[in-house]
């Protein structure tokens, strides 16, 4: 029993490590290859590695359960992220070719935003569909902590940027930071009950 718990803990740590490593490597690829086509690979690695690691952990750790609502959430999230990347690549490609002038440009610019807004809707559906009140509470806590953390970071960065101390960051980075930080706040929120 003890060895089983220990191996589960190790496997969980390994998956968290792999997810984190994917994010770090993806970020490094984006920063080191800025302006080249490799940024897409980095962004994809950053987005998908935590999801894949979480899915592997949920299927391989003894006693880990994939509740129906969580399974639907994972499937929807994976699908919408694939759509997001395809749409984003298309929109950036059109922008690069100078085809986003005029009113059509607004449509092209807003198209990548739609899947990201959709992620928030998917998160809301998870809270609505999860019938286990404890898991709902942990998930809600993780969302609130990640939201608070992201708003704090945005506030600090905004003032630093206003006073010319840091470079400009596009606003779409705010929800991306929120989603990324869920990988941290989720385990922290669950830890309170362990």
């Amino acid at each position: 029993m003890a060895s089983s718990l220990s191996s589960n803990a190790h496997l969980r740590l390994l998956m968290i490590g792999l997810g984190g490593a994917g994010v770090a490597i993806g970020l490094a690829i984006i920063l080191l290859t800025w302006g080249t086509g490799w940024g897409w690979a980095g962004a994809a690695l950053m987005s998908f590695s935590p999801m894949i690691a979480a899915r592997i952990a949920s299927r391989t750790v003894d006693g880990a359960e994939m509740r129906p609502a969580l399974r639907r959430y994972g499937n929807r999230l994976a699908a919408i992220m694939v759509v997001y990347f395809l749409v984003l690549m298309g929109a950036v490609s059109l922008y690069g070719q100078g085809l986003t002038a005029g009113p059509l440009g607004y449509v092209v610019a807003l198209t990548p935003a739609a899947p990201l807004v959709g992620v928030f809707i998917i998160m809301g559906r998870l809270l609505r569909e999860e019938t286990d009140e404890f898991l709902r509470d942990v998930t809600r806590t993780a969302f609130v902590w990640s939201g608070a953390l992201t708003l704090c970071e945005a506030t600090v960065w905004g003032f630093l940027e206003t006073f010319g101390k840091v470079p400009h960051v596009w606003m779409w980075a705010v929800p991306v930071a929120f989603f990324a930080q869920l990988g941290l706040t989720g385990p922290l929120a669950a830890r309170k009950y362990q």
Binding site: G63, E65, R67, T131, D132, E133, F134, L135, D137, A190, K192, Y193, Q194
Partner: protein, 65 residues
């Protein structure tokens, strides 16, 4: 809040997973309730009480341990 969930479960030779399945909740949920780290809502407390055929007060207590 204190509870006798672990004792009641052991009397029936149920694992946490067994109890979780009977209550239609996660095993983590049962563990958190048993260890007193999570207080169930009134509807869940009623479900637990019905499962063991006891009153809520016979399972949960707000008296110091």
């Amino acid at each position: 809040m204190n509870n006798r969930l672990k004792v009641l479960r052991a009397e029936r030779n149920w694992s946490q997973a067994d109890l979780a399945q009977r209550l239609d909740v996660s095993r983590q949920s049962v563990n958190a309730i048993e260890t007193g780290k999570y207080d169930p809502s009134l509807p869940l407390a009623f479900r637990i009480a019905r499962l063991f055929d006891l009153s809520i007060e016979q399972i949960f207590s707000d008296a110091p341990a």
